[in-house]
């Protein structure tokens, strides 16, 4: 039997264990599933982070001396795959999406609660499978991009397990995407119009469209790749007449949109957080909506900017340069709008606010290097170097991960009913921000000067800068400690948060903390002005003064 809800339906009561055990169960409650995604993602983040630490230790010396070369490539592959498919994608989509979207549309659960639980429960086994492949016969070692023919010629077991687990994670992501589209379009509370939705709904709508359009292409591609590995077909195997460039096109047709799957939801979350902590309406709601949709459309037609140095004819290089650079326009609008949201506010400098502002600064730098990389003549020098590593970490860590932390600081009181310690939060932010920039800013220089990416050994002239970068990584690792301490301390002994500690207007705050299974007692509130902050008369009084 399938289970789907209509507006105002209540989720079934049965199958819903209570107490902390519900977080380990096949719960159908969107709030439980959201937190399952969040905690599970964070555990994988710790694993992926340890792998990053191992990489940074290896790179403190120019020789390959910390781990065997094969192991280095496995660690590198696992790190990338875990961070993308088990941490950022599930958390910015699955965790916050599941928790918040039903509130925002005024529903009591997602449209397909059972599909939702299935989507989550695909993740832990695929993640564990991926990690245990290391202990069986060695994990995949061809990078998260798995380009053939390397992925066909490296040990098959690890690569096949990698493919299986990415396929399952892709499936989970597609289930989630369908669920979000259905929930946002079909479960809206009567009386609530699309243009009154909080911005995160628009971000999730756009992201889910990308997920549903592009993830199947990745799935098909990986299935063909697995045929090449186990059945010795020749789709991508040049010695059997296959074409390796076709794989790259198919892979990036998914994986460029994938970077927006990691960052559009983060844009949405920031748009919720900034207005509340600066006590101002979100600036330019309509342009924000249109720029999200612009990014979705453009994001689908830029993939070959990852292939400027491979087999790419000149006209194609030109087209993809132009399309890529134009993404900066809708993206730029959003950033100016966020700064305008801060302008004239009454800003609380708390953990949520600081991490969001850190995100703005980091992402602007990542976007600028992105536009530079989109220029073919610039890219042919720095492609596949540490410059690119710096670029995308400014985006995925400086962008998405900073927003995840910001969101945890912001919604923790709702999740648990307890307040976090804001001083520890500020401390956490400062260490993370310094560590992050110390780790990744110098990598721009490394790439420009000749250090390729994905290497275990390098020219000794780069040692000092690599060591500086590793010190930054150490700081980043240490910065998790005050964060974890804060979380545990606050869950146990934190101050009571009350229902609405931030005086927020969006519907998740208009109920108890943590909310009841039904989300609200009584009818769902109708919030038509989710950003109605700001004192109307403060402008009038200034006008009167003149």
């Amino acid at each position: 039997m399938t289970l789907s809800l209509k507006p105002n339906d209540s989720p079934p009561e049965k199958l819903q264990p209570t107490g902390w055990l519900k977080y380990l169960s096949f719960s159908l409650d969107h709030k439980v599933i959201g937190l399952q995604y969040l905690v599970c993602g964070f555990l994988f983040y710790l694993i992926g982070g340890s792998l990053a630490g191992a990489i940074r230790v290896e790179l403190t010396s120019p020789l390959s001396d910390f781990m065997p070369r094969e192991v280095y490539n496995q660690v590198l592959t696992l790190h990338g795959t875990i961070m993308i498919f088990l941490w950022i994608v599930p958390v910015v989509n699955g965790a916050f999406g599941n928790y918040l979207i039903p509130f925002y549309v005024g529903a009591r659960d997602m449209a397909f609660p059972r599909l939702n639980a299935v989507a989550f429960w695909l993740i832990p086994p695929s993640g564990l499978m991926l990690i245990t492949s290391y202990f069986i016969n060695g994990a995949a070692q061809s990078g998260w991009t798995a380009y053939p023919p390397l992925s066909i010629t490296t040990p098959a077991a690890g690569q096949i397990i990698w493919i299986l687990s990415v396929l399952l994670l892709g499936g989970s992501s597609i289930f989630g995407g369908i669920n979000f589209i259905a929930t946002i379009l079909k479960l809206r509370r009567p009386g609530l119009r699309l243009m009154q939705l909080p911005m995160y709904c628009w971000a999730m709508l756009g992201t889910s469209i990308l997920v549903v359009l592009s993830t199947p292409v990745l799935a098909g591609t990986l299935i063909l790749l697995s045929f090449d590995i186990v059945a010795h077909t020749g789709f991508f195997n040049p010695s059997l007449g296959g074409n390796v460039i076709v794989y790259q096109h198919l892979f990036w047709f998914y994986s460029h949109p994938a970077v927006y799957i990691m960052v559009l939801p983060a844009f949405g979350l920031v748009s919720e957080i900034l207005p509340i902590h600066s006590r101002k309406p979100l600036f330019g709601y309509t342009t924000m909506v249109f720029s999200i949709m612009g990014i979705v459309v453009l994001g689908l037609v830029v993939w070959a900017h990852h292939m400027f140095t491979s087999g790419t004819p000149p006209w194609m290089r030109l087209f993809f340069t132009i399309a890529t650079a134009f993404i900066a326009v809708p993206t730029g609008i959003k950033f100016f709008n966020w700064v305008a949201t801060l302008w004239g506010g009454k800003i609380s400098l708390n953990g949520a606010m600081l991490f969001s502002c850190g995100f703005i600064i980091n992402f602007v730098l990542g976007g600028i290097t992105g536009v530079a990389l989109a220029q073919v003549p610039f890219d042919v020098h720095v492609h596949d170097t540490y410059f690119v590593v710096a670029h995308f970490h400014y985006i995925v860590y400086g962008g998405s991960v900073f927003v995840i932390f910001s969101s945890i600081y912001h919604w923790f009181p709702k999740f648990t009913g307890k307040m976090l310690n804001e001083n520890l939060g500020r401390f956490h932010f400062i260490i993370t921000f310094i560590g992050f920039n110390l780790c990744f800013a110098p990598q721009h220089w490394l790439g420009l000067n000749g250090m390729p990416r994905r290497v275990a050994e390098y020219d000794p002239q780069f040692q000092l800068i690599n060591q500086i970068s590793s010190v930054g990584a150490l700081l980043m690792a240490l910065s998790t400690l005050p964060f974890l301490w804060n979380i545990f301390q606050s869950i146990l002994y934190g101050d009571d948060a009350g229902n609405n500690p931030w005086d927020a207007l969006t519907p998740e705050w208009l109920t108890s903390s943590p909310p009841p299974v039904e989300n609200w007692e009584g009818d769902a509130p109708l919030v038509v002005e989710p950003y109605g902050y700001g004192e109307k008369h403060s402008i009038e009084t200034e006008a009167q003064k003149k």
Partner: protein, 270 residues
């Protein structure tokens, strides 16, 4: 009031502009330039760096200024101003990135053209082409247009075979096989590359050029070295455990020295 803020805005923009230009010209962030298209590249780099640092410093300054200036002072209550949008402002900052991107795009197209990226690929590489139907993808950098004018079209063909984990160069003239690339300064080199196993990439940072070396798909990269010396060749595509160790050298000699090397190594044929 509006006058003062206009002056402040103007002054900060000016300072940012000058700062960006100063950094671009005084902080050297690129290795020596040793090929014909390297100075062109460096020019593009400089322009991108200037625009980038103005935008970055500007945005960062705006954020920090807002955080400091509009922070909630102790004991303060109430909300910020009720400002939901402003059409002319929003049009203005749609225009900023649009103009920047347009300018950068046109400018980099010009650079691309000057590097020879838009030249029809096969016009003087007939020596390479075994059959008319063979498809070869060209790397950027067939050199500035002037160098490929007819009187200078005698480029030196060299073949590169990449394999795990080495570059092997073959000189059709003299039938020489070498693990290092020897080239004369000031002459256009035409590298035809193919891989034996997985994808590799040929990269010389001092030449600012990179092209993937692909199995089953020959690629061509043209360049003209302009400085004598010894520069690293780096493999820039993950190709297996020893990827980081897959390096070689390009040795750029004066023409006479190169000729001597060529003569000394030419295989004696009957």
């Amino acid at each position: 009031m509006p006058k003062l803020s206009a002056i402040i805005t103007l002054a900060t923009s000016l300072i940012l502009g000058i700062g960006g230009v100063w950094i671009a010209y005084n902080v050297d962030m690129l290795p020596v330039s040793a090929s014909m298209n390297a100075p062109v590249y460096d020019e593009l780099y400089r322009v991108l760096f200037i625009i980038g640092s103005i935008l970055f410093i500007g945005m960062t300054a705006l954020v920090i200024y807002s955080l400091v200036h509009f922070r909630r002072k102790p004991g303060e209550t109430g909300d910020g101003i009720d400002l939901e949008g402003n059409i002319s402002l929003e049009i203005f900052w749609t225009a900023i990135p649009a103009i920047v991107v347009l300018f950068v795009g046109l400018y980099s197209y010009d650079i691309y053209d000057r590097m020879g990226g838009m030249q029809p690929l096969m016009h003087d590489h007939t020596s390479h082409i075994e059959s008319q139907s063979e498809r070869i993808w060209g790397g950027i950098g067939s050199g500035p247009i002037e160098t490929s004018s007819p009187n200078n079209s005698s480029s030196l063909p060299i073949e590169l075979t990449a394999m795990q984990f080495a570059f092997i160069f073959h000189y059709p003239k003299g039938d020489i096989v070498s693990g290092e690339l020897h080239v004369p300064v000031g002459k256009e080199i035409s590298l035809k590359m193919e891989s034996k196993d997985v994808i590799h990439a040929f990269w010389v940072p001092q030449f600012r050029l990179k092209q993937d070396v692909i199995p089953g798909q020959p690629t061509i990269l043209n360049f003209t070295p302009t400085k004598t010396g010894n520069f690293p060749i780096v493999c820039a595509e993950l190709c297996g455990p020893y990827h980081g160790g897959m390096r070689s050298n390009v040795i750029v000699d004066e023409q006479e020295d190169f000729d001597t090397w060529l003569k000394e190594n030419t295989k004696e044929t009957i």
